[in-house]
């Protein structure tokens, strides 16, 4: 297995490969990628915010949310990425502009300082439905610790073999069975809790 370490000479392709691989490789790559470009992204988005005094969000949220969206898009394999730093900043900028538009503070934003090639429209927003979030968190907390752990490992794309090893299960079938039961339980909780679907 090709494990990734935070090496400054790693290219974007290496990060993409590792993040798409899932599991522990992805976790390491995600941390490394964040540390590699965070300073530049913070700097850009802070400058952007400082130019729009009417924006009352926080650069931290903008940086974190745009990074999470980027990771989601990479994992879904939907993104054609030329530069990860540019992609991250582009998403951050779109989040920022969406937020301004939602607040109806601007009609048109004309001062695009730098083009990164990722200024595509998307529906993500900094403002989230807190009630919905609370419901989702409550639903997740209704699961037992073991179910929570196995489902988190599964969604982070650990293989069933890795999950069995990490959770000290006898074999892969056992891991698969427990995951199936836990996910079924979560579906029941979500159904009964009237949490809106996708």
């Amino acid at each position: 297995m090709n494990h990734l370490h935070c090496h400054i000479f790693l290219r974007d392709d290496d990060y993409l490969r590792e993040i798409r691989a899932g599991g522990s490789r992805a976790e390491t790559a995600i941390s490394c990628l964040y540390l590699k470009h965070r300073k530049r992204t913070y700097s850009y988005l802070r400058t952007l915010i400082s130019k729009h005094g009417e924006f009352n969000g926080f650069p931290d949220d903008l940086v974190h949310d745009s990074f999470i969206i980027m990771i989601e898009k990479i994992q879904q394999d939907t993104a054609v990425v030329r530069s990860l730093a540019g992609y991250w900043i582009g998403i951050g900028k779109m989040l920022f502009l969406n937020q301004l538009k939602k607040d109806k503070r601007i009609v048109l934003v004309g001062d695009v300082v730098e083009k990164y090639g990722y200024e595509v429209e998307f529906q993500h927003s900094l403002v989230q439905d807190h009630e919905e979030n609370e419901k989702m968190e409550a639903a997740f907390l209704k699961l037992g610790p073991r179910c929570r752990e196995i489902l988190m490992l599964w969604i982070n794309q650990y293989t069933m073999l890795e999950i069995a090893g990490m959770m000290h299960l006898s074999n892969v079938s056992m891991a698969r069975k427990i995951k199936y039961e836990c996910f079924k339980k979560l579906k029941e909780i979500v159904n009964s809790g009237n949490i809106s679907g996708v």
Partner: protein, 233 residues
């Protein structure tokens, strides 16, 4: 399609790892079979909960990384600050020490300002005035003039005055020219004939001029800095 196969397809669909063929197969099933459609919708809703939790945990992790980075930066900036202070203190210390070991400074520290260990009234007023003039010239760093005045006083009938004047002349010469070979010979001669406490002072001065610290500041650092100074300027 059996339940296990359907569950696997839905899992792959949710995780985004489904192949194009399987995806189209699943999509057909969703359209044709209401039970599958319900199952997929329920799975998507549950998956959304997991994704929310995953993102929440990732955000926490990112905050932790930010905190670590800030601490690391703080640690380095503190270290750089400390090193800068130490460097400045070191440079200031070297500057003070270099000043302390200049010939002028050594001469001014060792001057005999008050020759009459007895009662001043026992000496002529013009002698006292001449001594004061010589002393003032010395303290004003006008060493040539001080030497002129002390030469007259070195012929004084009172041996203590004469010895003190000779001592001060030596110091003034040291301040002007430094410890030249001739000056060292004069100091040796003076040391042999001088009474106490001048003899002790002369020996101490001789020891100082032979010491490592004096050589370091007067010779080595001064020479090196002299060659470096034009380049710095």
């Amino acid at each position: 399609m059996d339940e296990h196969r359907l569950a696997t397809l839905i899992d792959q669909y949710l995780l985004g790892t489904i192949s194009p063929d399987d995806r189209s197969q699943l999509e057909k099933l969703i359209l044709s079979d209401p039970a599958v459609r319900t199952l997929v919708r329920e799975s998507e809703a549950a998956f959304k909960v997991l994704q929310h939790e995953k993102n929440r945990r990732l955000k926490e992790k990112l905050r932790g990384l930010d905190k670590d980075e800030l601490m690391r930066q703080g640690f380095f900036s503190k270290r750089i600050g400390l090193l800068t202070i130490l460097l400045l203190v070191g440079i200031a210390g070297l500057y003070v020490l270099a000043g302390y070991y200049t010939h002028e400074s050594i001469a001014l520290r060792n001057i005999e300002t008050n020759p009459s260990r007895d009662n001043n009234a026992a000496y002529a007023a013009e002698d006292v005035a001449a001594w004061a003039t010589a002393k003032n010239a010395f303290l004003a760093r006008d060493f040539d003039s001080a030497i002129q005045h002390y030469i007259t006083l070195s012929e004084h009938s009172e041996s203590s005055w004469a010895n003190d004047a000779k001592w001060n002349i030596l110091l003034a010469q040291l301040a002007i020219e430094g410890p030249t070979p001739n000056w060292k010979m004069s100091l040796d001669t003076f040391t042999k004939s001088a009474p106490e406490p001048l003899r002790s002072k002369a020996l101490k001065l001789s020891g100082l001029l032979d010491s490592f610290i004096y050589r370091l500041f007067q010779k080595q650092l001064r020479d090196k800095f002299s060659s470096l100074k034009p380049r710095l300027i």
